[in-house]
């Protein structure tokens, strides 16, 4: 193995990988860089360092409204999706269900169907039932789209919780309900939080389905950015992009850290 580190082939692969990393990060870094540009155009050259676009962002009523919509939608989506997802994951991990493979495939079906098709089907069907383009439709859409991701994430983490801890609690006289709330739920908490965070992030970022479901006049952050792009790229979009990058990268990292902390404390 020692020779690998110095071999020419490995050097080439490493250099190649570095280029791939640069390809992934460069455009994002340019967004962050330009958001601090003092110039009134959202482009090069940089004319100075300034926070003015973040201040303008803060004073832009349309963007703030979109932000509120996205946060509320994301929180509700995460709450519903995680509840449904955790229950389903428990069934699949904890019980021997006949046809478990088939059920798993059904549960992840919403991500096997192209999102555009899902968007059209849901819009037309609910419209037929009398649910017009509305916040409710958006919420239904986001729940169904995020559910498979929650199930995949929660299931993967539930498997690692040992069942004998619960059995020990029960043999010591705890009722099944007590056992669930005092043993199972705390142990599941990292999985639940990870699922909720995943659902929130996906909902917050979604544009493909959202453009089909949102009523006129209601914007989420991604559709607001999309609408702003129609004019030209303004420094405000770059500032908004920077805020989103900090949020979407910072939140999961924070979540992962909290989850690790919790699981460390519980000692398992």
């Amino acid at each position: 193995m020692a020779e690998r580190a110095t071999s020419l082939g490995w050097q080439v692969i490493r250099g190649y990988a570095v280029l791939v990393y640069i390809f992934m990060f460069l455009p994002v870094m340019v967004v962050v860089l330009l958001s601090f540009n003092a110039s009134q155009f959202g482009s090069f050259p940089m004319t100075g360092f300034s926070f003015r676009w973040f201040i303008e962002l803060w004073e832009n009523e349309a963007i703030l409204r979109a932000f509120r919509t996205s946060v509320i939608l994301g929180l509700l989506t995460a709450a519903i999706s995680t509840t449904l997802g955790v229950l389903a994951s428990l069934a699949l991990v904890r019980y021997r269900v006949p046809g478990a493979n088939m059920i798993s495939t059904i549960l992840i079906a919403p991500i096997l169907v192209p999102e555009v098709v899902l968007a059209v089907a849901l819009l037309l069907f609910l419209n037929f039932l009398g649910v017009n383009k509305s916040f409710t439709l958006l919420l239904f859409g986001h729940v169904i789209f995020t559910l498979p991701f929650v199930i995949l994430v929660v299931q993967a983490r539930l498997i690692s919780i040992r069942r004998d801890v619960e059995e020990a609690a029960m043999s010591l006289g705890a009722s099944p309900v007590q056992t669930f709330f005092q043993i199972t739920l705390p142990l599941m908490l990292p999985a639940v939080l990870a699922g909720a965070l995943f659902a929130f992030t996906i909902s917050f970022d979604d544009i493909t389905g959202t453009l089909f479901w949102k009523p006129g006049g209601v914007e989420t952050v991604p559709t607001q950015i999309f609408a702003m792009l129609r004019n030209s790229i303004s420094p405000e979009i770059n500032a908004l992009g920077t805020v989103m990058i900090v949020m979407t990268v910072g939140l999961p990292l924070l979540g992962a850290a909290i989850a690790r902390q919790i699981s460390k404390k519980s000692g398992l």
Partner: protein
């Protein structure tokens, strides 16, 4: 009720909310648009209930739709190949690196968390008329006038590759990481060169991951309409753009239904073939 019967019922109680949601919000709506696709949009704008084949005839025989479908499949195929070429060596590097694997992987996954629309539009900052590249080339003196590099098929593919590459890397990494490294050592000690042992041992064993990543890139790439709207020109519309046009702009919902189902049939067939030969388990490994 006996304990046994309760044991049997419990998982179904736990599963029922999720299964109900998926049935009501996915399966029935899909069946509904199948029915809807046989209705007809009349000149007055109302939909006439019935059994008309007009939408399907238009969707299946009009050369306009066929050309855009073929163009969509082409763009998705090129995107998938580029993702594989960029992603495989990067995943190999992470899987075989002696450094901190989780951190290396997390670093490449970070862009996955960054907003799709932000990542897509970020290329305007790089390739636009007053973007980074033009500014640099002008400054160096290679060009005198800024070049128009955006809004063509190549930039659509570029945007898609940037969006989908993490899916490829993750899937390939999962399968490479699961390969026993001593297998390669064994091949080497039996006289294979490193390149030979890669081609004959490691590469074949990692093909399921490559296929899973490829399927995801292809299906997600072929179903997009945002990237062509942001980074493409007027002639770079993909099939999902037609669906969006029919449903949102023209409000021709019966035709939009037929077009949606056509897209579902083509991409669904791919998923079925994949499932037939490789199974869904590999795909779930990479997603979870």
């Amino acid at each position: 009720m006996s304990v046994e019967a309760r044991e049997k019922r419990q998982p179904w109680i736990l599963l029922s909310p999720a299964l109900t949601a998926i049935t009501l919000l996915l399966f029935i709506p899909l069946l509904f648009i199948l029915v809807y696709s046989f209705w007809l949009r009349t000149a007055t704008g109302a939909d006439e209930v019935g059994f008309y084949l007009d939408n399907w005839r238009e969707a299946l025989t009009d050369a306009f739709y066929r050309d855009i479908l073929l163009h969509t499949l082409k763009v998705a195929a090129i995107t998938t190949v580029v993702c594989a070429v960029l992603g495989y060596p990067a995943a190999y590097f992470i899987a075989r690196s002696k450094g901190n694997k989780p951190v290396l992987l997390l670093l490449l996954m970070l862009p996955f968390w960054i907003s799709y629309i932000i990542r897509t539009m970020s290329w305007i900052n790089i390739l636009g008329v007053s973007g980074a590249l033009n500014t640099f080339l002008l400054w160096v003196g290679i060009i005198n006038e800024p070049m128009q590099m955006l809004y063509n098929e190549a930039t659509v593919i570029l945007g898609l590759v940037h969006f989908l590459l993490p899916f490829m890397v993750l899937n390939v990494f999962v399968s490479l990481d699961g390969i026993d490294e001593t297998l390669e050592d064994a091949a080497n000690s039996l006289g294979a060169t490193r390149w030979q042992s890669f081609l004959q041992v490691t590469l074949p064993l990692s093909l399921p991951g490559l296929a899973a990543g490829g399927l995801l890139c292809f299906v997600l790439g072929a179903g997009t309409y945002i990237t062509p709207l942001v980074l493409g020109g007027t002639s770079d519309a993909m099939f999902a753009n037609l669906v969006f046009e029919a449903i949102i702009t023209q409000l021709n919902w019966p035709l939009g239904s037929a077009l949606s189902l056509m897209l579902l049939a083509v991409l669904g067939a791919l998923v079925m073939i994949y499932n037939r030969y490789l199974g869904m388990a590999q795909l779930m490994k990479g997603l979870g």
